[in-house]
């Protein structure tokens, strides 16, 4: 059943300060509305229970990409198209660009935002695994001030986050690494374009003289939250890059994940594909 549009409110604050005023005055009553690529789908289906939205699409304070020696900092409203066009991201954070290019089609990429992808908190979202492996940090702002939090740990359960109702996600910060990282990103869906992931795998590693010095692994569409696979990382960190290590890593990952069953895939399939992607990642690393 279609939504009854007059039962909704969408107000447009002229500045970030006024947006925060509204969020603070009635904590939880107003929720931010960015590019609409998730919320409008629910609206049309008559499944958008929350009624009052704050249109943040035009807030300049939430746009732009800033590059310093230490970080690349993206405004929360950076679109997938803008992510793909940014040279520093292409060179140093290629998995984020790949995730952006594999999310929806071009029309979605022109509207969908990185911040929206994070706070919509779908476990099947494609940028979170890349953001987790790149040790992203998030800036949350309220009238009380700003705080930076690690993205790892931001999601506490299905659609649950540590952001407060009076806070707005304003920026996403990626630490630049002096080390030479190898990157592996693979989305498995029913179709190459427009599909929602059955499994999404992101991995980075530093390998020297055949030894894995450091690595990060994250999975999307596996758990109720985008999942950083810390136990599997620990098992591989410092180990030689060889077949016994790969076999052991598969065994550790098999115990670390309990994949979800949903309309897009089964737990069994996701389990098998996750292990295969881990192996593919490790086999493709150059020593």
């Amino acid at each position: 059943m279609r939504a009854y549009i007059p039962s909704y409110q969408l107000v447009t604050p002229p500045s970030l300060g006024e947006a925060l005023d509204v969020l603070a005055a009635d904590g939880g009553v107003w929720r931010p509305f960015a590019g609409g690529t998730d919320l409008m789908v629910l609206l049309e289906a008559g499944k958008l229970p929350h009624k009052n939205y704050l249109n943040i699409w035009n807030l300049k304070e939430l746009r732009g990409i800033e590059v310093t020696a230490q970080h690349v900092t993206l405004g929360a409203l950076t679109t997938y198209t803008e992510v793909q066009q940014e040279k520093v991201l292409q060179e140093e954070f290629p998995m984020l660009c790949q995730a952006a290019s594999e999310t929806g089609g071009l029309a979605i990429q022109n509207r969908g935002t990185l911040g929206g992808n994070i706070v919509n908190a779908s476990p099947a979202a494609d940028s979170p695994p890349a953001l987790l492996t790149y040790d992203a940090e998030l800036e949350l702002i309220s009238l009380g001030g700003a705080r930076w939090v690690a993205y790892h740990g931001f999601h506490t359960g299905y659609k649950q986050m540590i952001i407060r109702p009076d806070e707005l996600l304003t920026r996403i910060r990626l630490p630049r690494s002096a080390d030479k990282l190898q990157h592996y990103y693979r989305k498995v869906g029913t179709r190459k374009a427009q599909a929602i992931s059955k499994v999404c795998f992101a991995g980075t590693a530093q390998v020297r003289d055949g030894k894995i010095e450091d690595l990060r692994i994250a999975l999307g569409s596996i758990a109720p939250v985008p999942l950083r696979c810390v136990k599997t990382e620990d098992a591989l960190r410092g180990s030689e890059l060889n077949q016994p290590a790969i076999a052991q890593a598969r065994a550790v990952l098999a115990n670390e994940i309990v994949p979800i069953d949903d309309i897009r895939s089964t737990s069994n399939y996701r389990h098998q594909v996750s292990l295969n992607l881990l192996e593919d990642f490790l086999r493709q690393l150059s020593a």
């Binding site: 789908v41 049309e44 249109n55 089609g105 029309a107 509207r111």
Partner: protein, 154 residues
């Protein structure tokens, strides 16, 4: 609750009187009677409702109209100029790129968008450019050929 909202549609400045949460798609079709823009899936999968906002292609079913305040919108009705079809439109006619016609406005806009960004696309780039648009008649080959023809004609 409605608001007054100025914007430009197909090069004409107008002021809409709309509910801010109304879908741009519905405003275009029902208030402005620009029915060339079609509704397919209503959830951003099919591209039938594609329009340009400030030169960027978007799904108008996913845009609340409040977000086009002051923006420049172009629909399929604004693609031809002075009764002269766009090269993409002519190529769709010449190559039989339309069957039932529901996906056609979106396909044409996706092709126009592609050629503006990339006048000499490879076959793979054409397929990526059309990836957000579904044709339920499955006439993809003729649509693809239409875009190839449009590239040659330009």
């Amino acid at each position: 609750m409605t608001i007054e909202l100025p914007c430009v549609v197909n090069r004409e400045s107008i002021v809409l009187n709309v509910h801010p949460m109304a879908r741009l798609l519905d405003v275009l079709r029902e208030q402005l009677h620009l029915t060339g823009t079609k509704e397919g899936c209503g959830e951003g999968e099919c591209g039938a409702c594609s329009v340009f906002i400030n030169g960027k292609i978007v799904n108008s079913c996913l845009v609340p109209v409040a977000q086009v305040e002051g923006a420049e919108i172009k629909t399929i009705e604004g693609i031809a100029t002075d009764n002269q079809l766009h090269a993409v439109q002519q190529a769709f006619i010449d190559c039989g790129g339309a069957q039932c016609g529901i996906c056609t406005p979106g396909m044409v806009l996706a092709a126009v968008d592609l050629l503006e960004r990339n006048p000499n696309p490879t076959d793979a780039e054409i397929r990526t450019g059309l990836a957000g648009n579904l044709c339920r008649c499955t006439g993809y080959i003729k649509i693809f050929e239409s875009v190839v023809r449009a590239c040659q004609e330009r």
